[in-house]
Amino acid sequence: MKKLAVIIFRSPGQDPRKHEMEENILAALASDPDVAAAMAPHLYDLREADAAVASLRSVTGPLVVLAWLYPRAIHWTLDRLGIKGQRGETQLRRDDPEDEKRKDSASAPNASARTIWSLDLRDNDDTATHVAEIQRILRDLHAVSANAGPAASVTLPSVIRMQPSGVSLSRWYPVIDFGRCNDCMECLDFCLFGVYGVDDDGHVVVESPDNCKKGCPACSRVCPQNAILFPMHRTPAIAGAPGASFDARKLDLSELFGAPAAVQLAAAERNAALAGAEKEAKPRDNLDKLMDALDDAKL
């Protein structure tokens, strides 16, 4: 019988209710003989060299992934780490019609035949609903594998806990949705920090993620295909929410806390990031020293 691998990626924050839900789902799955469940650190902060990534890559069969991110962000962040598959359909949340439409015409490079179901833990705060959805996926799989011969093996032990290797630092970089990207290279032209590059096949890739300026999502705003995600950005459309619909789960109080008008945003974000970068790169010259002396003189 086919074992279904289920990975729960932890929330990056301190929210006790989120951590409790992660534990509850893991506990609920532990008793299911058809499931190999594991808890892993916050997905977006993982690096390719992390032990957790190696474990995840060893799973070759179907995979269900739960994280506190939009399903699109989950899928393409995994893809970036070399954990590839077809997007499974979940009944907790409908796919973006934009993606449905493209499903036939576009296929991600190197997408493997196995299926990965990405579930957003924010969709429902009831543990049982998530567990029930996993069991539904399992039933569907059994129905298919009854006709499809022997199943792929799953090498995960029944319950494991993957720890982040070394210090876990919160990262910031773009994730490309290759189901949407059409290699127009706008991002490559727009980004001034060399984050993007082109691979041997001529596809744009996030070549140097750590060059990205924390908090800057400007390339995502200029992408004509809305193919660039910043999974941790607070604006749902940039974080990978389906469509451009407003995320009603939480209020956005930014305006009360001093947010500027949205129209000036993309240019301001890039310029601010650039100003920061120049400051780092440029050695202080005599003019700077003179300005400091003038400041100190308090004229």
Binding site: Q14, G215, R234
Partner: protein, 151 residues
């Protein structure tokens, strides 16, 4: 002068110590030697409710301009970006609040402070002035909350 002023947010009494000043984006500030310490006012904290996630998008030592986005908070009720309250250099973030943002709710005027910066001209308000500003801000806040909940 009393130790604190009170602003009623519905039935909730938001308290504002008079030993410090306040900014338009609902932070308090207190000079500590050369640097100025900032935190969220009781008004901001009440709007957010329990703060679970705090993140800074700039590093300590960064020069910022007023209204630059410097970080974000997420709470049980809301998300919000945080903006620099003044021009200057951020010298230090409160590691305690970063590790456990619940300090903001427990002791927002003390252990739950956010960051320190050398601020050249913080156009800050005296507590009484801030309270007057809150009367107009409170109307705007209620409209924003109702508007977003209606969507």
């Amino acid at each position: 002068m009393p130790d604190e002023l009170v602003f009623m947010m519905g039935n909730f009494a938001a308290r504002f110590p008079t030993d410090r000043r306040y900014t338009l984006n609902h932070m308090w500030l207190n000079a500590e030697g050369d640097s100025v310490r900032f935190g969220l006012s009781a008004y901001a904290i009440r709007l957010l409710r329990e703060v679970y996630f705090l993140e800074w998008s700039v590093d300590a030592g960064a020069a910022v301009r007023q209204k630059d986005e410097i970080g974000a908070v997420e709470s049980s009720k809301a998300v919000a970006a945080l903006y620099a309250p003044a021009d200057g250099t951020i010298t230090r973030f409160n590691a305690g609040a970063l590790a456990d943002p619940s300090a903001i709710n427990k002791d927002g005027y003390g252990a739950g402070w956010l960051f320190e910066m050398t601020a050249r001209a913080a156009d800050a308000m005296e507590p009484a002035e801030y309270l007057k500003y809150l009367e107009t801000s409170w109307t705007k806040a209620q409209e924003l909350l109702k508007g977003q909940m209606a969507q």
